[in-house]
């Protein structure tokens, strides 16, 4: 083996070693398709406590009373379960009670702020806006019917709080 042969072998060895090192440090394929995050809305995808999954299934089948019983029972045991508050809000909307829904949405947001973040799969802004709009109309209706403003304050505060957090950013 002369000097040129030795140089060739040495270069080959360096290249092989460099390739091995690069492979070891290569990040995952940047072009792989990452499935879009499915909006995980309470236990819609079969996740979460069995009671909430069952409650959602009942709600979708219009068995609202039975769904409410399950969710209320769950909330008694787990008052800080944000997903349960969201589901309870949806049940209130089906009961045509947007003010009760707004209170539940506010509780849910305090427990899980991502419900207001459009960039996360938990985002529930669309549902909340409908409840807020109907809630605002209901507050106006009740006030026109003679309900004292102090009695409606808790609802106004909840609506304004959600509104501020949903729409209050600069971007």
């Amino acid at each position: 083996m002369d000097r040129l042969d030795a140089w060739g072998v040495g270069v080959v060895a360096v290249l092989l070693g460099s390739a091995a090192a690069l492979n070891a440090t290569q990040p995952p394929d940047a072009h792989s398709t990452t499935p879009r995050g499915v909006a995980v809305l309470t236990p819609a995808a079969g996740q979460g406590p069995a009671a909430l999954t069952r409650a959602r299934h009942l709600m979708e089948a219009d068995s609202v009373t039975e769904a409410e019983r399950l969710v209320d029972g769950h909330l008694q045991a787990h008052p800080d379960d944000a997903a349960a508050h969201v589901l309870r809000a949806e049940l209130w909307m089906r009961r045509q009670d947007p003010l009760a829904a707004v209170l539940e949405y506010r509780r849910a947001v305090l427990l899980e702020p991502d419900y207001l973040d459009r960039r996360t799969p938990l985002y529930q802004g669309g549902r909340m806006k409908t409840a807020m709009q109907e809630g605002t109309d209901e507050v106006a209706r009740r006030q026109a019917a003679g309900t004292q403003p102090e009695q409606l304050k808790v609802y106004r505060q909840a609506i304004h709080s959600l509104h501020k957090r949903l729409e209050g950013s600069c971007g």
């Binding site: 879009r36 909006a39 909307m93 409908t130």
Partner: protein, 297 residues
């Protein structure tokens, strides 16, 4: 030895060259299409539209055919929806969906009316005459195959549960046509069907309008509607609206090796900008008839 080393160096160098990177995958969106007559018919009609939209928007649009009664269970897994107006109203109220465009088809553009039909030779002249008759409805979540006709009957002072001999829903797919043929061949005294379907069946020669009589018509309301769910990218929603409104009869897309006219295949005339308030008539009707999303349990 020198030659072998050089050759080896060349081989290693070539082997080390990275293969060309695959093109970046397009973002993936799901568009739910409410089943109109059957799953196959829906995908056959609207599959090309989904492909066309994907090309224009630079995304991969997955067309998903969903039954009316299952649609709301899946809405949170969708980006866009194509449904009747009642389903849109339900999803807008309960699922945060926003309207994108109304679909034009038939003589009234984005609107149609619910009709109650009977055989032409029947002596009845209005809905109130149907007391004691049998009636067939179309899909229960159809604004102009059930809700509108329920509204007509209630306005005529009839309670379907007590004042009709009976009412029923044809099983399976192609319900609108089954109602029409059921009335035509005497299986039902009367039927509830969208006026748009009568127009289409007449236009295609499947129905001679002289054989049937329209006993009553409901209020004109928007019909098929494209909407965006709360998870849809707002910029993409705007693009979708612009693309739909610009879609014309001559626009084509390549599907399975053939060039297809998008609108013609979908059996629609085009798309039109709409506002949410354009659906207030649907909402009012739903409240009158105790239908979702205003149903009181």
């Amino acid at each position: 030895m020198r030659t072998r080393a050089c050759l080896g160096l060349m081989v290693v160098s070539l082997a080390g060259c990275p293969s060309p990177a695959p093109p970046p995958a397009r973002p993936h969106v799901r568009m739910g299409f409410m089943i109109c007559n059957s799953r196959d018919e829906t995908l056959q009609r609207f599959g090309p539209l989904a492909v066309y939209l994907g090309e224009k928007l630079g995304v991969a649009v997955e067309a998903v055919a969903l039954d009316t009664v299952d649609f709301t269970k899946h809405v949170d897994t969708l980006d866009f929806t194509h449904t009747n107006s009642l389903l849109y109203v339900i999803m807008a109220r309960l699922h945060g969906v926003q309207v994108v465009a109304g679909e034009k088809a038939g003589n009234q553009g984005i609107r149609t009316q619910g009709a109650i039909i009977t055989q032409a030779q029947r002596p009845w002249t209005n809905a109130a005459d149907l007391r004691g008759a049998t009636l067939a409805f179309g899909p229960a979540l159809g604004p102009t195959s059930y809700m509108s006709q329920l509204d007509i009957l209630q306005k005529a002072g009839l309670d379907p549960d007590t004042d009709l001999a009976s009412y029923s829903f044809p099983p399976g797919s192609f319900k609108h046509e089954k109602v029409v043929y059921g009335v035509l061949f005497g299986k039902y005294d009367a039927g509830a069907v969208p006026l748009l379907d009568l127009e289409r069946m007449t236009r295609s020669g499947r129905l001679d309008p002289a054989d049937l009589k329209v006993l009553a018509l409901g209020e004109p309301i928007p019909y098929c509607t494209v909407a965006a769910t709360q998870r849809a990218d707002p910029a993409l929603v705007r693009q979708l609206r612009e693309t739909l409104l610009a879609l014309g009869p001559a626009d084509t897309v390549a599907v399975d090796g053939e060039t297809v006219k998008v609108l013609s295949r979908a059996n629609v005339d085009g798309y039109q900008g709409v506002h949410d308030r354009d659906y207030d008539g649907v909402r009012a009707m739903a409240k009158r008839t105790n239908m979702p999303p205003y149903q009181r349990f």
